[in-house]
Amino acid sequence: MMAVVAVVIALQGNLFAVVILGSVYSFLMATALVALDAVDVAMTEAAVGAGISTVLLLGALYLVRGEEQKARSRPWIPLVVSVAMAGTLVFGTFGLREFSDPTAPIHTHVAPRYINDAARETGVPNIVTAVLASYRGYDTLGETTVVFTAGAGVIALLRRRRRPEADGDRR
């Protein structure tokens, strides 16, 4: 179903439909994540991917015209590059262990410690929260700083629009 939505997005010329289909895609993705037992990620995907980014894209659409312009030249080289890249990635997945294989390296390094000791050491039953905020506290601090920097960057870019000649630069 997600593949169908992706193909329709690629073929669709009307940008409004593309935005809405992107939202649909995000919801399908969230459903897939719930099926994979990653409820935290699914929640984020549903809220950010389907909710806020759709609103932001609609806001951007309000500023530009709603129809995609015809491409001036047929972009063959990017097509070849992306197909080659996708082929490489698919080829790479053949080298991975089977999904949910308990002896895979990713499950034997730190994961057992988190699963066995996280509740005792942090008193937090949700291991995702424990890992995110405690064991990986530095990383999360970095992420928060990244989010802050993104906000600051948007402010810096969009607030300086008093001069009329700078009007068309971010269309």
């Binding site: 935290d40 984020t44 949700n126 929260t129 424990a130 905020a133 802050f148 906000g151």
Partner: protein, 143 residues
């Protein structure tokens, strides 16, 4: 969209519950799914919903720009502040064990404040970006 009665009524009913759900996700994140990031996004989504239905100027009166910008920075400061409190109490940066006599309680406390920081920053940033985008054509693009 101010003239659609159904939308307005539904929005008025829904928004308190959205905010409540955000708080639930925030404070129950230790036990169920969720945490600071998700809660922040849900808060932002609720306010964006409000802004869409009742108009941007109304939303800006309810949640002024100053508050949003303060949130933006305050979250990171809360997070980093937790780290420095750890140093002052004799531990390492972001060391939660020293925040309370009982190390497990200290962890709880540290995680709680860190999540608050994440939530505040995320909500602030999302709202700010929305405000800036939505305001672009309306009032000549400037704030």
């Amino acid at each position: 969209m101010r003239q659609y009665l159904v939308l307005r009524v539904v929005a008025k009913i829904m928004i308190p519950f959205m905010l409540l759900f955000a708080l639930y996700v925030q404070f129950h994140g230790d036990f169920g799914p969720g945490g600071g990031f998700q809660a922040g996004v849900i808060i932002a989504a609720a306010i964006i919903f409000y802004a869409i239905v009742f108009g941007l100027p109304t939303a800006r009166r309810v949640v002024p720009d100053r508050l949003v910008e303060t949130c933006l920075a305050a979250g990171v400061l809360i997070y980093a502040g937790v780290g420095f409190v750890g140093i002052f109490l004799g531990g390492n940066f972001l060391d939660y064990f020293v925040l309370d006599h009982d190390p497990v309680h200290g962890q709880h406390r540290g995680i709680f404040w860190v999540e608050v920081g994440v939530c505040v920053t995320v909500a602030g940033v999302m709202l700010k970006i929305f405000y800036m985008f939505a305001a672009r054509r309306r009032d000549g693009g400037d704030e």
